[in-house]
């Protein structure tokens, strides 16, 4: 078991190198990469700045941009062969140096660090809500399998299945965010503008007020799959022999379900905890975009829009690491909770 996890942990290294190498290579060889983009922007800027200038100085301009290109190549490490550039970049990453953002003019790691608490606030609440709703619902559906309650709640589950969580978020925002319908909740953001002047109680109220819609969207994102997983898992266990034995020896139904079957059926749910790890910490690009939450996900998105490549790569690095660690936690939980599992 221990060797499995050590090996698993070591697998993170080649996987991480694989991911970053893939993206690095793509960014390097795809036409219209950062250098070409910067040159284009520079030329546009010059063209706009020199609307009065005649065509006589085009030669000079060409020279300048050639020097500029060299300069830019140096900045992005394009003057070296790409594997050397990659090695240099990787070495820096290992020393926790993700470079400096162009748009913020600050170290990337600092910017990313600031975003975690924001994303976490929404992700964590959404996660808590989804677990507190989906698990009891799934259990209830399994116990009452085939009843009207089960069938009617299945309709809701189907809706959840067939529409992505962020789309539901958008619907909620337009319904309750003061568009053409009700004006109950803010249009996104984290806190109100006058947050600093509020009293402590009002501050909490204000935060919660901003939290409700995004957290609901997060919840709905995993609602359907979680509920069905819970239901099927419990149903499967209820068909097992040990449940039959428990009934046979005369235990009341409640004890059989909640003490015997439910414990075993929570295993697949618990292993999902590892996968939500990155969602909790890093949030979702889409929900953060819809609700204008300036967290980790939106940082990644806006860095792409602004073509701030150090931030983009930084978000990629941290995002993939979180995902890899999350997967490992999942496996670990699986082993811890289910002694029948033997990984090697």
């Amino acid at each position: 078991m221990l060797t499995y996890f050590i090996r698993r942990f070591l697998m993170i290294i080649p996987t991480f190198i694989g991911i970053t190498f893939l993206v690095f290579t793509v960014m390097r060889f795809v036409p219209g990469g950062p250098v070409e983009m910067a040159v284009l922007q520079y030329q546009q800027m010059q063209a706009e700045g020199e609307t009065t200038g005649s065509g006589s100085d085009t030669e000079v301009r060409g020279k300048i941009s050639e020097e500029m290109v060299e300069e830019l190549k140096k900045i992005y490490g394009f003057d070296k062969p790409f594997y050397i550039a990659y090695a240099i970049w990787l070495k820096k990453v290992c020393l926790l140096d993700l470079g400096v953002s162009h748009t913020y003019s600050r170290p990337v790691w600092e910017i990313i660090k600031e975003k975690f608490p924001v994303s976490m606030r929404f992700g964590l609440l959404g996660f808590l809500i989804s677990y507190t709703i989906c698990i009891p619902l799934g259990v209830f559906k399994a116990i009452r399998h085939g009843t009207i309650f089960d069938i009617s709640s299945s309709a809701i589950v189907f809706i959840g299945y067939s529409i992505p969580g962020w789309v539901v978020g958008l619907v909620l925002l337009i319904l309750f965010g003061g568009g053409s319908f009700w004006d109950l909740f803010p249009l996104g953001g984290i806190v109100s503008q006058n947050y600093d002047q509020l009293s402590f109680i009002a501050k909490i109220k204000d935060s919660l007020w901003h939290l409700i819609l995004p957290a609901t969207a997060y919840m709905l994102g995993s609602f359907a799959s979680m509920t069905i997983l819970m239901k099927n898992s419990l149903m499967e266990n209820l068909g097992q022999d040990y449940v039959r034995t428990a009934f046979a020896k005369g235990l009341p139904e409640r004890v059989v379900i909640f003490k015997h079957a439910l414990r075993n059926s929570l295993i697949p749910i618990a292993t999902g905890l590892g996968h939500v790890f990155s969602l909790i910490l890093a949030g979702s690009y889409l929900i953060e975009k819809v609700f204008n939450i300036h967290g980790f996900g939106l940082l990644g998105y806006s860095s792409l829009i602004a073509r701030d490549y150090p931030v983009t790569l930084g978000v990629l690095v941290i995002g993939s690491l979180l995902k890899l660690v999350g997967n490992m936690i999942s496996d670990f939980l699986y082993c811890m909770l289910d002694p029948r599992i033997r990984l090697e």
Binding site: V167, L173, G179
Partner: protein, 396 residues
């Protein structure tokens, strides 16, 4: 039974297909979505800004897809008349007396004709205007419009009067117009065709690669399998959406390129299942018999094992299509999807989030997306039930 066995598909597979047909909800969803999708290829006949055909001076022009021939007639006539008018004018300057008067009246006649031709040319810009023009003219010319006469990429700014887009739904524009004054209903219809095609082609590509890789890993095993699985593990750990966003922010993809990117990053899913199926099947007697007879590896893989390994392919198909549609909507919403004038649900959703007072911009794509995905999910559930029957027995 003998007849069944001779086919490519195993009798078990055919039995499952029959079971699927008996599950009404999934089966009718399947028929409905297939009809809708096939119908969407004839969308031009129902939802289009172009007229079905135009009868102009006794001649019939089929203008649904292409009105170039009629355009040439109308435009060249206008040019001709204009040139003629200027020529007469030139002559008139030189001429004197009666000659001059004659030319003057001639010029007036030509000018009148030219004005008419110019008006026609102006009306020709949109077939709806052309129809109105023909109706007023009452000269036997006709433009026959299709059922819903707005196209997906047509700008309706001049027809909205003093209203600013996005305008709310009315009798002319059923689902209103978007922020560039384009008809939302038309964009929904064409968006359906594009979303479905995108998802189907994407699934075809990812499955082809996934199945090929998976079957090779499963069949040959050994070192190939070991390194292949490690490679797939690494590949699957790539943050899918973000990497697609990075790549497409750099190259601004078109339809084919976007499918290429998504295939490149998302082919792994099926290979796992196929690998498992091949691992299981290859030790069975019929495979060993085929090997003993000396059948070549590719033939064993394709003709013998593959038909028995179809279960995951079929049962994941609907969910892959749902995934494909969702990916396209997501990427379009974020602005990293198909190039701009393409009718797209995701692009409308992003407009909706920018114009929260225009509820129809949200309602139309959400409803379309929801209905489409719901139908496919129904199919998926039915297929799953037919192919992977899980009977829960329970003590009561």
């Amino acid at each position: 039974m003998e007849k069944l066995r001779s086919g490519f598909f195993s009798p078990v597979f055919l039995k499952r297909l029959r079971k699927f047909r008996s599950l009404k909800r999934g089966y009718y969803s399947f028929i409905l979505i297939v009809c809708l999708y096939i119908g969407s290829f004839f969308a031009e006949f129902f939802v289009n800004g172009n007229a079905l055909y135009i009868v102009f001076e006794g001649k019939r022009y089929f203008t649904l897809y292409n009105d170039a021939s009629l355009k040439k007639v109308i435009f060249s006539r206008e040019t001709e008349l204009r040139q003629k008018a200027t020529e007469i004018l030139k002559l008139k300057v030189k001429a004197e007396g009666q000659e001059r008067e004659k030319l003057e009246s001639e010029h007036a006649a030509v000018k009148k004709e030219h004005d008419k031709a110019r008006e026609l040319k102006k009306a020709f810009g949109k077939h709806r205007n052309l129809q109105k023009y023909f109706d007023q003219e009452k000269a036997g010319n006709r433009a026959v419009l299709v059922f819903y006469h707005y196209g997906p990429n047509e700008n309706l700014l001049d027809e909205l009067g003093d209203r600013n887009p996005p305008t709310s739904p009315d009798r002319k524009n059923w689902f209103g117009t978007d922020d560039r004054g384009r008809d939302v209903f038309a964009r929904m219809v064409y968006g359906f065709r594009i979303s479905m095609s995108f998802a189907l082609i994407l699934t075809a590509f990812t499955y082809t690669i996934g199945i090929t890789v998976g079957s090779i890993l499963g069949y040959f095993g050994g070192k190939i399998d070991f390194f292949g699985v490690r490679l797939i593990e690494i590949w699957s750990a790539v943050p899918f959406l973000y990497t697609v966003m990075i790549v497409s922010s750099i190259i601004e993809p078109n339809f084919i390129l976007l499918i290429g990117i998504l295939t490149f990053l998302g082919w792994m899913g099926m290979s796992y299942y196929i690998r498992a199926e091949f691992l299981r099947e290859k030790s069975k007697d019929y495979v060993l018999a085929a090997i003993a007879v000396g059948v070549s590896d590719p033939v064993i893989m394709l003709r013998h094992i593959f038909p028995n390994a179809l279960t995951p392919v079929i049962s994941f198909l609907p969910f892959s299509i749902v995934g494909g549609i969702s990916s396209l909507v997501t990427l379009d919403f974020l602005g990293f999807g198909l190039p701009v004038p393409t009718p797209s649900w995701g692009e409308l959703l992003s407009q909706a989030s920018a114009n929260i007072h225009s509820w129809w911009l949200m309602a139309a794509p959400v409803a379309s997306l929801f209905l489409t995905l719901l139908l496919i999910t129904f199919i998926g559930e039915a297929i799953r039930e037919a192919f992977d029957p899980k009977v829960f027995s329970r003590l009561r």
